[in-house]
Symmetry: C2
Subunit: 338 residues, 2 copies
């Protein structure tokens, strides 16, 4: 994953920087911009204003570091999610890989659809089909084995249209934002509908977010002794869906504190943003709006993936920050940096 390492380095310079005022002092000689891939405008200004306020010890909105919790959706917020959630592309690749051991898949949906490359038939299999796909590709092995499978896939596979590793299709402005928040004493968490053990394989290297700060959907696991060695076996049974109203539940379960800042891109993030906004004291909610068909994809109210409809209305009504990717971001991906 050498390219993703570069990605981290590109956005990771601030990771060891000094927080708050010291950062400003240290930066005086060069006036270094902590968000260089963000165009000046209301989105960038609202972020900097919020961070300045909560870190100003003498101000009325000061928040002690231990309460500076920031939660980020992953798909569509930290990396792309088109033409399908990358984890679904992983599941489809895994079906092809496992197919020789499952001759019955040639004639059984949704596996037949995957093997035939028939996305229409796959979509027709609905939620039930998707669930079968996930269980067949994500369960039945140990947690260590699953991590190896994901690590292999994320390192070797390429996106169908950009032909880039998926870990290069992360948003450079969001990497800078993660670093900027951490340099100012924030603890950054992923709160995603994606699989918790899928994301943990690359989240630390790509986003600087350690496994214990990744929250996602999960299947059940079971402790078992195999030849005197303990293993955790992944069972074909849903444990938790970390989406929509599940996001505040997942946040409460894993963090036990309400975030003061939350970042999403779809209606699936709305409850997380509502939960964050409803706390006392300064709050920051931000939606990434996919408006850039040229550099990424443009979609919102009518999209099957990453639909942003109710959330966009609520953001406008409540004055949340809405990032217009086309207008607000100088580059989308790290590889677009000149």
């Amino acid at each position: 994953m050498s390219v993703s390492r570069n990605t981290v380095k590109a956005g990771g310079i601030h990771r060891f920087a000094l927080p708050g005022t010291l950062l400003l002092l240290a930066g005086c000689a060069t006036m270094r911009d902590p968000l260089p891939s963000w165009n000046d405008g209301p989105a960038k200004q609202s972020i900097v204003k919020f961070v300045d306020e909560v870190t100003d010890k003498s101000g009325p909105d000061y928040v002690p570091p231990e309460e500076r919790i920031a939660t980020f959706d992953n798909d569509g917020t930290l990396w792309s999610e088109q033409p399908a959630y990358f984890q679904l592309l992983f599941a489809m690749d895994r079906v092809k890989q496992l197919a020789p051991q499952h001759p019955e898949w040639r004639t059984t949906q949704p596996f037949k659809a995957v093997l035939d490359g028939d996305m229409h038939a796959l979509a027709e299999s609905g939620e039930k089909g998707l669930l079968e796909l996930v269980m067949a590709t994500h369960a039945g092995i140990t947690t260590d084995e699953f991590a190896d499978v994901v690590r292999d896939w994320i390192t070797t596979s390429r996106h169908p249209s950009t032909h880039r590793p998926y870990t290069e299709m992360v948003f450079q402005p969001m990497l800078e934002l993660l670093d900027y928040l951490r340099a100012n004493g924030f603890k950054t968490f992923i709160v995603s509908g994606g699989g918790i053990e899928f994301m943990r394989v690359f989240a630390e290297e790509v986003y600087g977010i350690p496994p214990e700060q990744v929250i996602g959907s999960s299947i059940k696991t079971e402790f078992e002794m195999r030849d005197g060695k303990p293993v955790l076996v992944r069972l074909p049974e849903i444990d938790f869906i970390d989406d929509k109203a599940g996001k505040p539940v997942g946040i409460n379960q894993h963090i036990g504190r309400r975030p003061i800042a939350a970042f999403g891109n779809s209606d699936g993030d709305l409850q997380m943003l509502q939960w964050t906004a409803a706390g006392e004291g300064p709050r920051f909610c931000l939606y990434v709006h996919h408006t850039d068909a040229k550099r990424e994809w443009a979609y919102d109210r009518e999209s099957h993936i990453g639909k942003l409809d109710k959330g966009l209305d609520e953001a406008h009504n409540r004055g949340w920050t809405v990032v217009d990717m086309k207008r607000d971001w100088k580059v989308v991906y790290p590889f677009q940096i000149q």
Copy 2:
């Protein structure tokens, strides 16, 4: 909770100390012992040896800070658990508090047993009765309301025999151990069969462990809008039991990394210690053995609460550290410091 604040201060001096070598250098003038409440002996020596090894950058057993995960059981490991788990005493007090609104409890078990102070009848209601007790006292309110109830109880209630606040009945040597590990770059977690939202109310103040590093048993919660304000409602339904084989499952779910050190006191911690020990590289497993009937309680193989039987055998067979409280600890509680 002024007394517990003193507790934290007593054990909390190292929290801001410098890690590793710097700590040694800084301590040269006074030769300050980071574990002053531990008698010199094999238990203390094994702890210091392990910490020296994993923090020695030039040694063969060096472990990078992000992998220095240490997990601690709570009941019987960080604080006492006699004559009953303190959380059960909380549930019983809560039954008495809520009884006026539940006249039917006067004639229904297990509530009648609690109201009559009849511990024998309560025990006879078995696991089913206990579950009913937990649901009646822990569910049906929001997460914020529950935290307030626990905060009130932990601040005002007293232990039946010592007449001390429960937060004073924490083990001074373990507070020092938590601080010592953190000063050496460890991230410390609680992994307890107790309720996750019960412990989170006091874990940060008493142990220096923030909510996001507390793992425990849980009931389900549900996101709900009440008068336009989002709340999380606690449902009378078990979500997860973080005990025995559940502990490695909870560790994997919340931390996503295998600990390199684990601390427990009962057979309920055995799988956590096995899971920890089975990882590659240096590992440390420790059992607190309750041997001090005078200063605390003495119990092990035959006890209903905190039974340590299989675990004691396995500890002896595998060379894990076993703390003999009577022999190894100069004091048990902070208030015993001369």
